[in-house]
């Protein structure tokens, strides 16, 4: 039981990261129907901007952890979206309306480009970071095995939940959210209602990148090492999560992220670590066989 609980906590931590990245895939897919394969790299850049921000704060002598974390969070949420915005503006917008394959290949190209860019300016070696938050609660003990819930994990859950609630509200309540939903259903009609479609698409990339940047920060402080390559695997996992939950669905992305995190964590705990990715993808394949639209995706059966 104790072991199970510990894996549950670890799985939820990982799932938070995947979920936050998956939202970016799902929002962009919903609005322009493309898979932004470079989104994993945006997450990686978010992690790098975070580590640089920590370094700068260290130099400046900001050592009070809560303040440092807050500044880093704000910095990465502001700076990383600049990359997301530029990515759309430079690479995807000129291709809008061209065949999907062109956009897909461009996205893969941008993914490789961003990896190489970070490798070039930051070096290829892994970047370690001191733990910023230590300690936690011991919530259970069974023999010699104790279950720990660290302050860091609590912080991760709180931040993830708050962000997801805020973004759900933005989409449900604000004018931007309404414009996004209109664009999602019919770009041309949205424009005919006076919605600035280009701006709405840009803001969607910005929102996705902001969430991915937080995932990057969480990854950095949770695992303590990053390199230019972390975006690749995390991106694929998060994409899997988005498809599992139903691509285009916001709650689906969150659910899918949590599920993939849990599957990986439990599989590694009870079976073999080597096959944890296989397990995650197998679940995806199984779900898609029985529910091609994913867990929460809406089937398009209505007459239009």
């Amino acid at each position: 039981m104790a072991y199970f609980t510990q894996q549950l906590i670890n799985g939820l931590t990982l799932g938070s990261i995947y979920g936050l990245i998956a939202i970016g895939y799902t929002l962009v897919y919903g609005i322009i129907g493309m898979i932004n394969f470079a989104h994993g790299e945006i997450f990686m850049i978010g992690a790098f901007i975070s580590i640089i921000a920590f370094l700068v704060l260290g130099i400046l002598g900001v050592t009070w952890i809560p303040l440092a974390l807050l500044i880093v969070l704000i910095a990465t949420m502001i700076l990383t979206p600049v990359y997301g915005w530029a990515l759309e503006r430079v690479a995807y917008r000129p291709l809008r309306g061209s065949p999907r394959l062109a956009a897909l290949i461009t996205a893969i190209g941008m993914s490789i480009f961003l990896q190489n860019y970070v490798q070039l300016v930051q070096g290829a070696r892994i970047k370690p970071m001191q733990p910023v938050i230590s300690g936690g609660f011991e919530i259970m003990r069974e023999g010699s095995f104790t279950v720990a819930l660290s302050y860091l994990q609590i912080l991760i859950f709180v931040v993830t939940v708050v962000l997801m609630v805020v973004f759900t509200l933005v989409i449900a309540r604000t004018e931007l959210g309404r414009a996004q939903r209109a664009c999602e259903q019919d770009l041309g009609m949205a424009a005919l209602l006076g919605i600035d479609v280009d701006r709405t698409i840009s803001l969607t990339f910005v929102m996705g990148a902001a969430l991915a940047s937080v995932a990057g920060l969480i990854f950095l402080i949770n695992y303590g090492v990053i390199d230019f390559y972390i975006g690749f695997l995390a991106g694929i996992k998060a994409f899997t999560a988005a498809v599992l939950g139903g691509i285009g669905s916001l709650p689906g992305a969150m659910l899918g992220g949590l599920l993939i995190g849990l599957i990986e964590s439990f599989w590694s705990a009870y079976f073999t670590v080597e096959y944890k990715d296989v397990a995650a993808y197998s679940v995806l394949v199984l779900v898609l066989i029985f529910r091609p639209t994913g867990l929460l995706g809406k089937p398009d059966i209505e007459k239009v």
Binding site: R181, A182, G188, M189, L192, L193, G194, V304
Partner: protein
Amino acid sequence: MTMLSITGVHAFYGHIEALRGVDVEVKHGEIVTLIGANGAGKSTLLMTICGNPRAAKGRIVFDGEDISAKPTHEIIRSGIAQAPEGRRIFPHMTVMENLLMGAITSEPRYLDEDLEKVFALFPILKERREQRGGTLSGGEQQMLAIARALMSRPRLLLLDEPSLGLAPMLVKQIFSVIKAINAEQNVTVFLVEQNAYHALRLAHRGYVMANGRILMSGTGKELLANEEIRSAYLEGARDTKGRRS
């Protein structure tokens, strides 16, 4: 006074030239109709007014301002609304949400008043307001498309075949609503119709389009009386006309 003036407008889809030099004028307070065979370019003209496809040549002036180079959303924000071909209701949104989408450019303080207005024109929409757009009947979708366009408080309303696919009863109802919108809400209307008989009777003036060009124009009465038009666009409407007038 001229509200919309279109001069020498050409428009393309790739290499297909859908508009080949179109001149149309719509005056303040008018109902103007555009009739023509399938593929003549009628829908293209309405869309070109809204900037998609863009006018490749020529000028489109709305209330004294050249709008031919503006992006679609700015054209709409300057006071034009369109209920386009195919209705294009948002299928996953409720009737109410569709109407709110229409109001996205207008000030929130007008919202309740405007909703009242469109519900007065189309009472069925009030009953259906929580129903999803995609599950409405064709006629209800048409009403919703017009109502949604009105929610932006346009000065110029573009309607693309509002009577398409409607039962004769509903056709009459839609046309009387268009008349009411024009007369009571002071909205200028530019209307594309296949139902030439009704449209020409309703409109102050009309244009006839073929192959991307304007063939003829005149008052509704003149065009209705024209032999060529009667044989080309009013086949079968003759006996209807006999009975009514």
